[in-house]
C-alpha cells in the first residue's frame, strides 16, 4: 500500500512540476555522471599492470643520479644493460629479467623495407617475472633459443594473416636485421599497460657490436625487473645494493659511487605514474585534481539535491498535517517520504548511469582510451549511493514534518519552512556549493591560461616547418648512407636547411636519455668547491644553427672556418674548444652579461672558450627547468646525430620526399620522422586533457549549483508569497521586491568567494609550481570566475524574483 502510494505520489509530484523535477533529478544525474566518468578515468590510470598475475611481487630497479647541481638528477626507470648479469653473479637465485626496447624500438622487414615495430628483447627468465598469457607455444622454452621470437596475437594476424604463425620466419631489426623463427604467440597486452611489445626476442648474451656502454655504470639502456615473494625480501635485497654498487662500479664515480648513484626499487604498479628524473609529479597531480573534481561535483550535486528536496518538502507541511488528520500514523508518513525520496534518487542515479554510457564514447575518442562501465562492481555501489542520498534527502521531511502538530499547522496562516534555522542551513549549503564551483572555475581559468601560455611561449626557435628524423641516429645506418641521405634531403624542393645534432625538440638529448649523463658536461669552476657546474652538452653538426636559427645575443655562431670550433677529436680537449652557450649558462657561470662572457675561457683542465651567446633553445618539457647549455661543433657529423629539416611550403610533400629518399637509401632501417610541433604537443597533452576534463567538470558543477540556486529561489519565492503580499500592501513596488529577493540570494554567492579564493589560490599555486615557465597567479582569474558565477546566479534568480514580485498583492496575501 505504502509503496504504491509512494510511487503514485512521486509520479504526481514529478509530473506536476516537470521543469522543477527535471532540474532536480537532472542535477543529481549529471553529478553522478561526472563522478563516474572521472572515476573510471582515475581507476584506469591507477590500474596499470595490475592485470598481471603476481604484479605486487615485481619491482623495477631504477637508476637514481645525484650529481651536484645537475638538471638530470632524479630516478630514471632504466639501468645499465649488463647490470642484471652482475646482479645474478652476486645474488645467486635472483629472479629477474631485462626489457630492452619496446614501443617503436625495432623493425620488421617486409618486401625489403623495414617498418617500425614494437620489439622488445627480454631474458629467458622473462616469464618467471611477467606471466603473460600465451595463445600458442611455450614462451619460457622459446626464449631460451637465441633464434626464436614470440609475437602478440595481433602481430601474428598482421604478419601472417590466418596462417599458423608457429614455425614461420621473419626478419626483425634491433641491433641490425636478423632472421627469427616464430615459436609462440602471446595474448595482446591490455591498454592499461606501459609494456609495449608486439614481438619478444631473446636479449643477446654478449654485448652487441657498437654497444660499448653495455657495462658502463650510469647509463640507462634497459629496464631491469626483479621479483620477490614478499616486501620484506625486496627490502632486504635493496639494503644490499649500496655494497653491490661499491663492489662493482669501481672508480668511475669517485671514491664512493653511492654518493652519485643509487638503485632504488620501485613497485611495478607505481611505474606508470612515476615521473622520470627531475620532472614534477604532474601525472599524479593531474589525477588527484580530476579525482577531487569528480568528488566535488558529486558532492555539490548531492548537497543541491538534498537542499531542493527538503525545501520542496517544507511546502508539504499542510499535506502532512491533513494526512495525519485523516488517520496516517507517523510511521506511515516516514515510510512514505523515505520511499519517495529513495525512488527519486534511484531515478536520478539511473539517469546518471545512462548519461555516463552516452558520454564514454566521446571521452574515449578524445583521450584515446577504452573506458567502460564495470557493472558488476558498480551496480552495488550505485544502489548504495542512491539509497544514501535518498535517505538523507528524505529524512528531513520524514522526521521533521511528521512531527509537527497537525492542528497547529492547519490553523497557522503560513507554512512552516524550517524557520530561521532552516533558512540559515540552506544559505550555508548554497555558500558551500558556490564556493566549490567558483574554486573549480578559477582553477579552470588558470589551467587554460597556463596551457595557452606554454603553447605560445618563445622556445627560441620557430616550431612550425621543422621535421625531425630521430632514426638518423640509428646504429645500423652506415656512414655513407648518412652522407647520401643528407645530400638527398638537401635536394628536396622546399628544404631550407638540414641540421644535425644529438638533440631534437620533444625528448631532449638522445645521449642524455639513453645513456644517462653522457650529454652532460661538467665545467670546473675555479675557486668554487665541488666538481663544478653541470651543464647540458649539445653536439651540433653542420647547419644546426641554420635549421633552428637561434637569436644571437653576443659573439658569433660555430662554423667550419675556425679551427678551434671543431670538437671532433676529443684528444685535443686539453688544448680547448670554442663553444656557444645560452643565456642560462651565462647567468650560471656568473657573467654579468652575454657580452661579458665573450672570449672568456671556462672549465679548468678542459678549457672551453665562449665565442657566442644565444637565447635558450627549449627542447625539453616545460615542467623541466631550463638547464645551462653548451654547444659543441662537429663539422662532419656529431656522434648519434639526428637530423632536423627546416622547410618552407607543403609539409606533406616534404615528408613524402623524405620517406622516398629514406626507403631508397636505407631500406633496412625503419624511418622515424616527426614534425616538431607534433612532438612538442605531447608535452602539453596531459595538461590539455586535464584542462579539458577540469573545464567540463567545472562548468557542470557551476550548472548544478545554479540549478540548486534556481530551485531555492523558486521555493523561497513560493514560501515568501505571503511576505511579498504584505510588503506590497505596505507600498513596496515590484522593483523593491525583486531587489529584495535577488539581494538576499546573492549574499551567499558573494560569501562563497571567501571560501573559493583561498582554496583556488593554494591549489593553483601548487600546480603552477610544477612548471619552470609559468604565468603569474593574477587576481584577474579569481575576479573573473567570481563575476561569471555571480552573473549566472543573477540571471538564475532574477527570473524567479521578477515573477514573484509581479504577483497581485491581494492574491499573494491569500496564497499560502
Amino acid at each position: 500500500m505504502t509503496n504504491r502510494y509512494a510511487l503514485l505520489s512521486l509520479y504526481r509530484s514529478l509530473t506536476r512540476h516537470r521543469l522543477y523535477a527535471a532540474l532536480d533529478i537532472g542535477g543529481l544525474a549529471v553529478g553522478v555522471a561526472v563522478f563516474l566518468v572521472l572515476g573510471l578515468y582515475v581507476r584506469f590510470e591507477t590500474s596499470f599492470e595490475r592485470w598481471l598475475p603476481r604484479h605486487d611481487q615485481i619491482y623495477l630497479i631504477q637508476t637514481e643520479l645525484h650529481l651536484p647541481g645537475s638538471p638530470f638528477n632524479g630516478a630514471y626507470p632504466a639501468s645499465m644493460a649488463g647490470m642484471l648479469e652482475q646482479l645474478r653473479e652476486d645474488f645467486p637465485g635472483l629472479t629477474g629479467t631485462r626489457i630492452r626496447g619496446g614501443a617503436g624500438a625495432g623493425s620488421v622487414t617486409r618486401n625489403g623495407i623495414a617498418q617500425r615495430e614494437d620489439v622488445a628483447q627480454v631474458d629467458a627468465s622473462f616469464f618467471d617475472v611477467f606471466d603473460l598469457p600465451m595463445v600458442a607455444g611455450d614462451g619460457r622454452r622459446a626464449l631460451a633459443d637465441p633464434s626464436a621470437a614470440l609475437v602478440s596475437r595481433s602481430a601474428a594476424r598482421k604478419y601472417f594473416g590466418s596462417a599458423d604463425p608457429i614455425g614461420q620466419t621473419m626478419t626483425i631489426g634491433f641491433d641490425g636485421p636478423q632472421v627469427f623463427r616464430v615459436a609462440g604467440v602471446f595474448e595482446d597486452l591490455p591498454a592499461n599497460s606501459d609494456l609495449r611489445a608486439a614481438i619478444l626476442t631473446p636479449i643477446p648474451r654478449t654485448p652487441p657490436p657498437m654497444r660499448w656502454d653495455w657495462y658502463r655504470w650510469g647509463t640507462a639502456a634497459v629496464m631491469t625487473f626483479v621479483r620477490f615473494p614478499t616486501r620484506a625480501a625486496a627490502d632486504a635485497f635493496a639494503a644490499k645494493l649500496p655494497a653491490f654498487l661499491k663492489r662493482r662500479v669501481g672508480h668511475d664515480f669517485g671514491p664512493d659511487p653511492n654518493a652519485i648513484l643509487s638503485l632504488p626499487l620501485l613497485p611495478l604498479t607505481d611505474l606508470h605514474l612515476q615521473p622520470p628524473g627531475a620532472e614534477s609529479a604532474s601525472r599524479v597531480a593531474a589525477l588527484v585534481t580530476l579525482a577531487i573534481v569528480g568528488a566535488l561535483t558529486l558532492l555539490i550535486a548531492i548537497v543541491n539535491y538534498v537542499n531542493l528536496a527538503t525545501a520542496r518538502a517544507g511546502l508539504r507541511a499542510r499535506e502532512v498535517a491533513m494526512r495525519k488528520v485523516v488517520g496516517a500514523s507517523r510511521g506511515a508518513l516516514i515510510a512514505q517520504f523515505m520511499a519517495e525520496a529513495v525512488l527519486a534518487s534511484a531515478l536520478a542515479t539511473l539517469v546518471g548511469l545512462i548519461l555516463t554510457e552516452l558520454a564514454l564514447p566521446f571521452v574515449n575518442a578524445t583521450a584515446g582510451l577504452s573506458l567502460s562501465v564495470p557493472y558488476a562492481t558498480l551496480v552495488p555501489a550505485l544502489i548504495a549511493l542512491a539509497a544514501g542520498v535518498g535517505v538523507i534527502a528524505g529524512s528531513y521531511p520524514a522526521l521533521l514534518l511528521s512531527r509537527f502538530p497537525a492542528a497547529a499547522v492547519l490553523a497557522s496562516a503560513r507554512t512552516p519552512g524550517g524557520g530561521r534555522a532552516g533558512t540559515r542551513l540552506r544559505e550555508v549549503l548554497v555558500v558551500v556549493q558556490f564556493g566549490l564551483a567558483i574554486a573549480l572555475l578559477t582553477g579552470t581559468l588558470v589551467l587554460v591560461a597556463q596551457t595557452r601560455h606554454l603553447r605560445q611561449t618563445d622556445l627560441g626557435f620557430r616550431r612550425d616547418g621543422l621535421l625531425t628524423l630521430p632514426s638518423f641516429a640509428a646504429d645500423d645506418l652506415a656512414r655513407e648512407q648518412r652522407q647520401a641521405l643528407l645530400a638527398a634531403f638537401r635536394a628536396i624542393p622546399g628544404v631550407v636547411a638540414v641540421g644535425t645534432a644529438d638533440a631534437v625538440p620533444g625528448d631532449g638529448v638522445a645521449s642524455a636519455t639513453e645513456q644517462g649523463g653522457a650529454g652532460v658536461d661538467i665545467i670546473a669552476m675555479p675557486g668554487q668547491p665541488g666538481p663544478g657546474l653541470t651543464v647540458l652538452r649539445v653536439n651540433s653538426g653542420p647547419d644546426f644553427f641554420r635549421a633552428y636559427a637561434p637569436r644571437l645575443l653576443a659573439g658569433r655562431l660555430l662554423d667550419d672556418a675556425h679551427r678551434r670550433d671543431d670538437a671532433t677529436d676529443w684528444t685535443k680537449g686539453k688544448d680547448g674548444f670554442n663553444v656557444v652557450v645560452d643565456r642560462t649558462a651565462v647567468a650560471a657561470l656568473g657573467f654579468r652579461s652575454p657580452q661579458a662572457a665573450i672570449g672568456q675561457t671556462v672549465g679548468g683542465a678542459q678549457p672551453r672558450t665562449i665565442v657566442g651567446v644565444i637565447e635558450p633553445l627549449r627542447f625539453f618539457s616545460p615542467r623541466r627547468p631550463q638547464s645551462p647549455t653548451f654547444y659543441f661543433h662537429y663539422p662532419a657529423l656529431p656522434p648519434r646525430g639526428m637530423a632536423t629539416l627546416r622547410y618552407a611550403g607543403d609539409a606533406r610533400a616534404v615528408q613524402a620526399a623524405v620517406a622516398a629518399a629514406w626507403h631508397r637509401i636505407a631500406p633496412q632501417v625503419p624511418l622515424v620522422a616527426e614534425p616538431v610541433d607534433r612532438r612538442l604537443r605531447e608535452f602539453y597533452a596531459a595538461d590539455d586533457r586535464a584542462a579539458r576534463l577540469l573545464g567540463v567538470g567545472a562548468l557542470l558543477a557551476v550548472a548544478i549549483a545554479c540549478i540548486g540556486l534556481w530551485g531555492l529561489a523558486a521555493f523561497n519565492a513560493a514560501r515568501r508569497m505571503h511576505e511579498i503580499g504584505i510588503r506590497k500592501v505596505l507600498g513596496a513596488s515590484s522593483g523593491d521586491i525583486a531587489r529584495l529577493l535577488t539581494g538576499q540570494f546573492l549574499r551567499p554567492v558573494v560569501i562563497a568567494n571567501l571560501l573559493a579564493w583561498p582554496l583556488a589560490w593554494v591549489a593553483m599555486r601548487k600546480w603552477l609550481a610544477g612548471f619552470s615557465d609559468r604565468i603569474a597567479l593574477s587576481p584577474l582569474y579569481f575576479l573573473t570566475a567570481s563575476l561569471l558565477a555571480l552573473l549566472v546566479a543573477v540571471a538564475t534568480i532574477l527570473f524567479q524574483s521578477l515573477r514573484a514580485s509581479r504577483a497581485a498583492p491581494a492574491w499573494a496575501l491569500r496564497h499560502d
Binding site: 496562516a413 533558512t423 503580499g725 504584505i726 510588503r727 507600498g731 513596496a732 515590484s734 498583492p809 496575501l813
Partner: protein
C-alpha cells in the same frame, strides 16, 4: 475624501464568472469611521482590497481626494499605498523572521520621506502599548499583542486612511475590545478608518455602518450620537 462610482469587480476563471462587487457607490469623508458588515462572500474584503488598491476594479471610478486612481500604474499605486494607507488584517500578517520593531519599521520601509524612522517606530509602538515587546518575534507574542503590533505598523506612516479587515476576528473578547479602543482613539485623533467586521457590537462602535449582500451595498446608517 473617497469617492467610489459604479465600482465593479468580476472574477473570470474557467468559464465561471463571479461578480464580487456590483455597482458600488460609496463616499467616505475625512475623519469618518466606517464599518462594513455582511455575510461571508458578500464582497466585504473585495471592497476593502479595492479601497486599498491591492485589487483593481474591473469597472467604475475610484477617486481619492482629487486623484483618479485608475490612472496610476503599479509603481505609482505602490507609492500611494506606502504614503497614504495603513492596513490591519485579521491574521495580523506579521513577518515571522522579523522582530516586532522591524515589522513596525516595515511600514516606513518603502517611504522616501520617512524622517526620523527610529523615533516614529518607537512612537507608534508606544501608542499601542507594545514597546516592551519590540525585540520579540511575532510567535513569542499573544494574538492581541500581535494585532497591536500590526496596528502600530499600519499607523507608523501617518496614513490618511486605515483599512482594517476583521481586525478582531482572531482575538478573544478582551483583546478585541482593546484593539477596538485603539482604533477609536485613532479615529478621535483624526484618522479615517474603514473596517470590515462580523461583530455587530464592534460595528456599532463605528460612526457609520454599511451592510452588504451579494456584492451590493444594501444599507447605510449613521450611528446615533
Amino acid at each position: 475624501m473617497i469617492r467610489l462610482e459604479n465600482i465593479q469587480r468580476r472574477y473570470i476563471s474557467d468559464e465561471v464568472e463571479t461578480t464580487a462587487l456590483a455597482d458600488i457607490n460609496l463616499h467616505v469623508a475625512a475623519g469618518e469611521f466606517v464599518a462594513i458588515m455582511g455575510p461571508s462572500g458578500c464582497g466585504k474584503s473585495t471592497l476593502l482590497n479595492t479601497l486599498g488598491t491591492v485589487d483593481r476594479p474591473t469597472g467604475g471610478r475610484y477617486m481619492f481626494g482629487d486623484r483618479d486612481l485608475a490612472a496610476l500604474d503599479e509603481k505609482e499605486l505602490a507609492a500611494f499605498r506606502g504614503s497614504t494607507l495603513g492596513f490591519v488584517f485579521q491574521s495580523f500578517n506579521l513577518i515571522d523572521e522579523l522582530t516586532i520593531e522591524e515589522n513596525v519599521a516595515l511600514g516606513l520601509a518603502y517611504r522616501k520621506d520617512a524622517g526620523d524612522r527610529r523615533a516614529r517606530v518607537a512612537a507608534a509602538m508606544d501608542k499601542v502599548g507594545i514597546a516592551h515587546r519590540s525585540r520579540h518575534f511575532p510567535h513569542q507574542l499573544s494574538g492581541g499583542q500581535q494585532q497591536r503590533a500590526a496596528i502600530a505598523r499600519a499607523i507608523v506612516g501617518d496614513p490618511k486612511l486605515i483599512l482594517a479587515d476583521e481586525p478582531t476576528g482572531n482575538l478573544d473578547t478582551a483583546n478585541g475590545e482593546q484593539v477596538m479602543s485603539i482604533l477609536m482613539g485613532l479615529n478621535d485623533e483624526g484618522a479615517t478608518i474603514v473596517m470590515v467586521t462580523h461583530s455587530p457590537s464592534h460595528a456599532d462602535m463605528a460612526k457609520r455602518r454599511i451592510d452588504m449582500l451579494d456584492g451590493r451595498i444594501v444599507a447605510s446608517a449613521m450611528r446615533a450620537l
